[in-house]
Symmetry: C2
Subunit: 221 residues, 2 copies
Amino acid sequence: MATGTLPSRSQVEEIVRQVVTARLAGTHSGPPRLEVHASARHMHVSRQDLDKLFGPGYELTVDRPLPQPGNFAAKETVTLVGPRRRLISNLRILGPLRSRSQIELAFTDAVSLGYDDLPIRLSGNLDGTPGALVMGPHGVVELPNGLIRAAMHVHMNPQEAAHYGVKQGDLMKLRVAGDAAVTFERVHVRVDPSSRLGVHMDTDEANACGLSRAREIVLFK
Amino acid sequence: MATGTLPSRSQVEEIVRQVVTARLAGTHSGPPRLEVHASARHMHVSRQDLDKLFGPGYELTVDRPLPQPGNFAAKETVTLVGPRRRLISNLRILGPLRSRSQIELAFTDAVSLGYDDLPIRLSGNLDGTPGALVMGPHGVVELPNGLIRAAMHVHMNPQEAAHYGVKQGDLMKLRVAGDAAVTFERVHVRVDPSSRLGVHMDTDEANACGLSRAREIVLFK
């Protein structure tokens, strides 16, 4: 740490690993290599809702692959209508399909739409979250819930979890050093054999810490 | 952000509300009482530029006072034109007048306008910053520079500085605890006898840390 100590520093084991974004590759010593991705607002859609929005049996078109294996940004977008009839148009759908539709917004998006208290949730944990009207080219879906701000999280496989000494559900910290150095203290660990090591944050978080020009990024317990 | 009900949604943004968390006062041990304010994007204007934008000799109208003594949000707004001819309309002017015009944006604002690398600066430190076209009801000003993301800072008087054991120009840290606990590590100390203790952050930072529903806020060295 460049300046001073956190109050909780004494509680933190010194297993800090030097890790980097893709831009900073080559400056770190040893694996695993960490990437940090900023996710813009998007929608995950269920089969049932895709049928309503784009027509029965519609299939998503891959626009570009995303870092987690099998995930992709689709060419398809929808329009989200908030509680004050404000809109977000061109809300990108991410594939593949999920069992339940879910929309992830940054707080900035939520406030502009009229949601004053969007809950911070892990993906899939949607009970009690607000709903919205979603418009597609074929039809409209009234989601009873599913709007969240995604809690910051890190995907990793079991070997990477062992490297960091963490397990599924643990919290880690992410320090992004630069002109606006920030430590995010609640990075949820998600372990899956098919995962590729990567932290996901939203656009507010990326903008707050100046992610695109960070000088150093460290993930630690 | 790029949202809204107008067809030109990408060109028009609303003013993001200012969040004041006075309710969290008293979370540190003993006085002084800390307040944290989120500043939405705004403009500080010089006498010369106000004359051009609103007419010779024009005086700003107070809409509401701001926490720092003598400062206020004016009723007057301008339209900011970015490098890709994207707009931010209703950009609020803050008073009183300054020797040099300055526009403070969050990164989210800057990206939506087309500025990909807005420098993080302390107020008034404008050399080498980008410029913009500003439109008022009377005329237009071409700012050669003056666009910044304001570095996070804390205003305090000398007694408060003594309490914290800091001086003008020091860096402090601000921990905002909640569902998205974040520690901001570069809070610039600004000491002035007329100041009232208060941290200023921008809307990205406030949204990233969930300022409006933080459970505890601690300012420390």
